[in-house]
Symmetry: C2
Subunit: 377 residues, 2 copies
Amino acid sequence: MYKLLAKDGRAKRGEFHTVHGTIQTPVFMNVGTTAAIKGAVSTQDLQEMKTQVELSNTYHLHVRPGDEVIKKLGGLHKFMVWDKPILTDSGGFQVFSLAGLRKIKEEGVYFNSHVDGRKIFMGPEESMRIQSNLASTIAMAFDECPPHPAERSYMQDSVDRTTRWLIRCREELNRLNTLEDTINKNQMLFGINQGGTYRDIRIEHAKRISELDLNGYALGGLAVGESHAEMYYIIEETMPYLPLEKPTYLMGVGTPENILESVERGVDFFDCVYPARNGRHGHAYTNHGKMNLLNAKYELDSAPIEEGCGCPVCRHYSRAYIRHLLKAKEMLGLRLMVTHNLYFYNNMMEEIRGAIEEQRYAEYKKNKLNGFAQGEE
Amino acid sequence: MYKLLAKDGRAKRGEFHTVHGTIQTPVFMNVGTTAAIKGAVSTQDLQEMKTQVELSNTYHLHVRPGDEVIKKLGGLHKFMVWDKPILTDSGGFQVFSLAGLRKIKEEGVYFNSHVDGRKIFMGPEESMRIQSNLASTIAMAFDECPPHPAERSYMQDSVDRTTRWLIRCREELNRLNTLEDTINKNQMLFGINQGGTYRDIRIEHAKRISELDLNGYALGGLAVGESHAEMYYIIEETMPYLPLEKPTYLMGVGTPENILESVERGVDFFDCVYPARNGRHGHAYTNHGKMNLLNAKYELDSAPIEEGCGCPVCRHYSRAYIRHLLKAKEMLGLRLMVTHNLYFYNNMMEEIRGAIEEQRYAEYKKNKLNGFAQGEE
C-alpha cells in the first residue's frame, strides 16, 4: 500500500494508497478531535486548504455522540462529509491524559468519562470495535502512553504489555474487517512504538512490532516533556529498525521546526494541535516566523498575514481586519487564523515533498529554518 | 435612485440603485455588528447566501476599532472585503440601549462606552462624521429611540428633537459628501420616523420628514415591547404618509411572520438579529416552522435541516451532524446554523419579490404562514 517514491538522505517521499484515495507523504494530518476542525472550519473548507488526511479522536467520539451513532449514520466519512482518508487514534492517549481515575490491567483500562464521569472500560478489542464503527481509513493500535519520566522497569513492563495489546488489536481488527456489517472492511492498522527515551527499549520494541507486518508504524510517547534534542535522538536511533517500505508516523508533533527535523530522520505522517490552537490565540505561522496578530503594530496594516500566501485568508483579508476580529472576540477571527495556519502546515508539507523529490531537502530545510529565525515575535 | 417595479396591494417590489450596486426589494439586510457576521460567517460566504446588503453598527465600530482606523484602511467595504451595499445605523439605538449613564441634550447625547467606560459625546454631526468615515452606502439619521411606553408629552418632545437632529444630519452629510478626502461622496441618508404607538405623532412626523426629500425612510422604535398587533397598526397607518417613490425600512424587525405582514404594508428593507441569534441557540428556520436541532429526535437523522433547501449547509450536512456539533460546543455548529438561517431569510425575500411581481402575494403569504404553523417545535 506504501510506495517509496524517492529518498534524500534518510528523508522519505512516499505514496500511501487507501480505499479513500492516495496520501502523498510526508503529510500533516489536520486534527478534528470531535469530527470537526476547531475554529469553525468545515470539511468543505478543507478542500481548498491542501488537506489530505483528517484525524479524529476515538475517545471523544466514543463518549459523544457515540461510535454506535456514527456507525448507524454510515461512518465518520459520511457523518462529517469528508471522502478523503481519516486516521483515528486509539483513544489510549486521551484515556491517559484526560480521563479521571484509571486502573491499568492486562485486559485494558478502567476509567471515568471526562464528560459525565461514567465508568468506561477500554482495551485493545474495545478500541478496535470503536474504530471499526467509526470506519476510519487508518486505525491506531491501543497502547499505553507511559508517563514521562518513567522508571526503566515500569517502561519495560508497559512496552511489553503494549506489544501484547498490539497483537490483540491486529487479531480483533482482522476479525472485524471480515464482518458483514463492517463499513470499511479495508480498515488499516498502525502499530505504535513506545519506550520513552530508553534507546534500547525503543529499538527492541521497534524490532518486535516490525515483525507483525502492519500497515504502518508510529512513534508514540514523544513530545511529552523530553527535550527536542532527546526526541530527535530517539527518532534517529529507532527509525532504522522500522520497515522502510511502510509509512512512519510521529504522533502529536509539532512545530514546523520539529517537522523539518523529523522528516530528515524519515518520518512520513505528522499531526499536531499547534496550528489550530496557536491560531485561536492570535499566533500566525509564516515563513518569517510566528506573528502575534494582536500586536498593536498591525492596527493599520492592510497587508495579508503573509504576502504571496495562497491560502483562502491571505487572498482576501488584511492583518488589520483579522486583528480587529480577534480583539472584538468575533468567532470569524479564530476561523481565519486557523485556516491560515493549517494551510501553512499543509503547504509546507507540499514544499517538503518537492524538495525530497528534487534531492535538495537539506538546502530547503536550512533556508526554511533561517526564515523562521527572522521571527517577527 | 429607487424605482418602483410593481405593486401588489400595498406590497412594493422595488429596485434601489447605489454606488455599490442595485438592491432588489423587499430585502433582508444581514447584520454584521462589528464588521463581521456572528457565527464565523465570512463576507466570502455571504456571496453564496443570497445576501444583498450587509448592516454594520456605527456605535460598535466607533468604539472598536475606531472609525478613523477604518477610514485610514479605505472604509468598511475594503476593511471587511465586501463590495455590495452596506447600511450603517446611526449609533443612536446602541447609545440608548447599551451605553451606561447618559444625558440627552439638544446638541446630542453624553454617555459612557460599554467597552472601557470612557466618556463619549454623539450628536447628529458626530454620527454623520463617523458614518462618513466608515463610508457605508447608506447612513442612518441620528435619532432618539424613546423608551416604551413613554408619556405623550415626552414622546412629542423627543420626536421634535429627532426632527431637528435630522435636519442637522442632512446638512452635515451634504457637507461631508463634498470633502475631498471623503471615501464615499455619494453616501445616502435615510431619515427615521418615531412616535412610539401614538398614531397622530407618527403621522405628523412622517409628513414633516417626507418634505426633506431624503434617500429613504425608516420606521424606528417598533418591536420594542408593544404587541405585534400594535406594531402592524402603526406601520399600516404611517406608511401612507411616507413617499411611495422612496424605499422604506422597518428597523430591527423581525420574525419571518413579521416580515410577511410588514411587506404587505409596504416595507422594503428589514434587518434583525434573530436568524443569527436563534441559530446560535440551535433553532433553525424552515418552511415548516422552527426546529430545535438540540432535540434528541435528530440524533440519528441523516436528512438536511430542510429537504430541498439550496443553502450551503443543507447541500452537505445532516441534522445529526449539526446536532452533534452543537452538543459538543464546536464553533462549526454555530456557523452552520447561522448560515442556514440567513440563507432562509434571504431566500424568503427572493420568493417574496417573485410573488409581488406575479401579483400573488396574498396567496404566497397565506401558504407560507400555514407552513410555519405546522411548527416542529
